[in-house]
């Protein structure tokens, strides 16, 4: 596997929430003004730390949703049922509040605008967040690398970044396919999962310079990555990020 060299000390820094956008019934985007942010690569994540008045702390990692443009950063947080930090970020945090973060972290699941070759993004649910950062970086850098996003969601109301994605899909360099697993919008007959047939029709075929990024719940990523390898993709060119339990027996 290719190596990256990012080694420096990460310190906690306080940002201020400047804007909050509802994305779906359970997800929202938090815009943070972070004066000391060192910048990040599309696909990296950061740690958020919450502190109660008595000093009790809880931290979690979140993907960064925005490209680094030198001003603010955006996080999109999906509420995890029975979670400890995400319910606060989704229900309690408001504009003007401080928020402590540390990052950026991760040097593997990243896309750099100077990388050669097409990019295939495949996201399930809130797994679209780091992929959106890549698409935004792609647009920000005016990259002409062909890019495709396959986005698997339960139903139209589950789509995060619906308006932004629509705008990006108008670019000649970005191709967007939604896969609805429970309920499709009118005029879109297919309801089902990402399978070999769909990948053959909508995703880039394997090439030597194609990089594929897959992010989502573990069973989704396992299934999609296995399909890609079976379709002839070099495992070393398929980068994955998983979250949540396996979904198998415990």
């Amino acid at each position: 596997m290719e190596r990256t060299a990012v080694r420096r000390r990460l310190t906690w820094q306080a940002g201020t929430v400047t804007e909050i956008r509802e994305e779906t019934a359970t997800a929202r985007t938090i815009v943070l003004d972070l004066p000391d942010w060192p910048g990040h690569l599309a696909g990296q994540h950061l740690d958020v730390r919450l502190t109660a008045p008595d000093g009790y702390r809880a931290s979690r990692s979140y993907s960064i949703a925005s490209a680094w443009t030198g001003s603010t950063i955006e996080l999109t947080v999906e509420q995890v049922p029975d979670g400890e930090v995400s319910p606060y970020l989704v229900d309690v945090l408001k504009v003007g509040d401080p928020l402590e973060v540390r990052g950026p972290v991760g040097g593997w699941f990243v896309w750099r605008p100077d990388s050669a070759g097409p990019i295939q993004l495949i996201g399930g649910g809130s797994g679209v967040v780091p992929l959106m950062a890549m698409l935004r970086e792609h647009a920000h850098a005016s990259s002409t690398a062909p890019a495709r996003l396959l986005y698997s969601v339960r139903r139209p109301t589950s789509v995060i970044y619906a308006a932004d994605l629509k705008k990006l899909a108008m670019s000649d360099d970005v191709d967007l396919t939604f896969v609805y697993t429970r309920e499709a919008p009118p005029g879109e007959p297919r309801v089902g999962r990402v399978d070999a047939e769909l990948l053959a029709a909508k995703a880039f075929a394997p090439t030597d310079d194609l990089t594929t990024y897959v992010c989502g719940p573990t069973p989704f990523v396992e299934a999609v990555a296995d399909l890609l390898v079976a379709a002839g993709h070099d495992p070393a060119r398929v980068r994955t990020e998983r979250f949540g339990p396996t979904g198998g027996p415990r």
């Binding site: 596997m1 190596r3 990256t4 060299a5 990012v6 080694r7 420096r8 000390r9 990460l10 906690w12 306080a14 730390r49 919450l50 502190t51 109660a52 008045p53 000093g55 009790y56 702390r57 809880a58 931290s59 979690r60 990692s61 400890e84 606060y88 309690v92 945090l93 509040d97 401080p98 928020l99 402590e100 540390r102 972290v105 991760g106 040097g107 593997w108 699941f109 573990t218 396992e222 990555a225 296995d226 890609l228 390898v229 495992p235 070393a236 398929v238 980068r239 994955t240 998983r242 979250f243 949540g244 339990p245 396996t246 198998g248 415990r250």
Partner: protein, 198 residues
Amino acid sequence: MGIVSPGFTGRRRSGTELPPGQYLTRDFPVLSAGPTPHIQPEHWEFSIATESGEVHKWDWPAFLKLPAEEITRDIHCVTRWSKLESEWKGVSLDTLFADVETSADFVMAHSYGGYTTNLPLDDLLDGQAWIAYEFEGDPLGAEHGGPARLLVPHLYFWKSAKWVRGLVLSDAEDLGFWETAGYHEYGDPWKEQRYAGD
């Protein structure tokens, strides 16, 4: 103490048995950088290469003939979940190192699929590490590193390389996959050594 998060009270679900910043899970989350390698046991081979180039090798039948141990340990992932009293079966690295002559201080673990992680040799010996092939009574599933993974429970779990295929001994410390990508070179959960410089 830093800033207070307005309106945050916290759930305090962490017991005192957990390292700082960890929370308890009953699931077994999966984290991997690429597709899951599916290695058939008949194609699996494990080796230890010393700093002088001597190589010790075991194929699956030879590996299964080695004395195995039942191991019950807490495990801690750098992404903050911890699992208490997880049950494993595997071969102690003390057994695998019995005939290995080395004065090296450092080890790079190599996996099928290309993953690597670095550890001090001292952290693998004296009953601290195993090559595990069963989890909670069942053969270790591919997504969790089956047929066999390194198990070093006292360090963050990214050190417990899945799909392990060999250890390479060295006098000098090199950095592995996540360590090169910004994670701590040692990774002690009790000291919260998550990222480089912690």
